[in-house]
Symmetry: C2
Subunit: 205 residues, 2 copies
């Protein structure tokens, strides 16, 4: 019956399907409110079958958060570490951050809103990756200050402010089309630079 699907698409397709359906469910109803039975129903299998692929509900949430954050770091951090002026690095990273947040909107929202339901140890792993990104961003901001492009007294605070601003986007922004998305990504890159350049500059009136 399903041999066609399985033979065609390979082995761990089911795991991806589970993560995809779980992401949608967790986004819509929240992790705690979404039941294993809901998830099984979406996949058209019985609840017990899920435990063949995952040892428990929490591990599904963990897999979603961890995979998302790993991919994110792999995609955005290199933009910050590339050898170029800090403002170009920031603008490029912010752009990628915004685009990632839309391309993987479901996982991003789940990671932001639901990861606190993880047990302490798994939560610490995810938070470690997040801190890695923030610290890298703060370091580039600091470099930009010493070089004179930016004027912020507290690079870590500035990094958090920018990250919070960008991470808010996936919660409400629905781009009309690809062009609209590019526009906002560029706009946010400009916004971040405006922030960093003018933060502690007195208004020139």
């Amino acid at each position: 019956m399903r041999n066609v699907d399985r033979a065609t698409l390979g082995g761990n397709l089911r795991i991806d399907q589970v993560l995809e359906s779980a992401t949608r469910l967790f986004t819509e109803k929240g992790y705690e409110a979404a039941s294993v039975r809901d998830l099984a129903a979406e996949l058209e299998i019985r609840p017990s079958s899920l435990y063949h692929h995952f040892p428990g509900k929490q591990h599904i949430l963990f897999a979603i958060c961890m995979r998302m954050q790993t991919d994110f770091n792999a995609e955005v951090i290199p933009e910050l570490l590339a050898n170029r002026p800090p403002d170009e690095a920031i603008a490029s990273a912010v752009r990628r951050h915004v685009l990632f947040g839309q391309r993987r909107k479901g996982e991003v929202v789940v990671n932001i809103r639901e990861r606190r339901s993880l047990p302490a140890e798994q939560l610490a792993q995810v938070n470690g990756l997040r801190r890695e990104y923030r610290d890298t961003l703060a370091r580039v901001i600091d470099a930009g200050c010493r070089q004179g492009s930016f004027r912020v007294g507290d690079p870590k605070l500035a990094a958090m402010a920018i990250v919070d601003m960008i991470n808010g986007l996936p919660h409400w922004f629905k781009p009309r089309d690809e062009q609209d998305l590019e526009r906002v990504a560029d706009l946010y890159a400009h916004a971040a630079l405006a922030l960093l350049r003018g933060w502690e500059t007195d208004p020139v009136s």
Copy 2:
């Protein structure tokens, strides 16, 4: 036994106690994960007694969100409507927004992260109050643009970006003392103005 408490502190003290404990519980464990029994235990009463004060669990969440957002609007929106230059209005509102977010941190975090668990009608009420604030903010930004202080092409987008930035604070910022809090409030006010003034200005190099 409890007549002393009741006589001393008045009638609807219990309701405030419920909301306070519920806020703490919802913040720590999330609305869905926090059970009515947990809440009753914190208040040292039996679960059934809670239903004397509230018709159900959802109404407690609704009361928290609604009260918080009502108080917020009453405290911050007037700063935007006061008769003065847009940049002063924005700076003052952002300051108040930051301070409110710390003073009522628990309720703010619950409102942000848990209100989606509300039934559609109650959710719409809370969202209506939020939109009222955002629209007012956007209108002041627009005024600042026409007056020449700000340079943003999309006032609503700018308002969302600023609100997201400020609303991120209560999730992680732990001020050392009152002075530290004031410092960050002022810093964020400056940040908002830097954003609005430089958003679409080309870097002056």
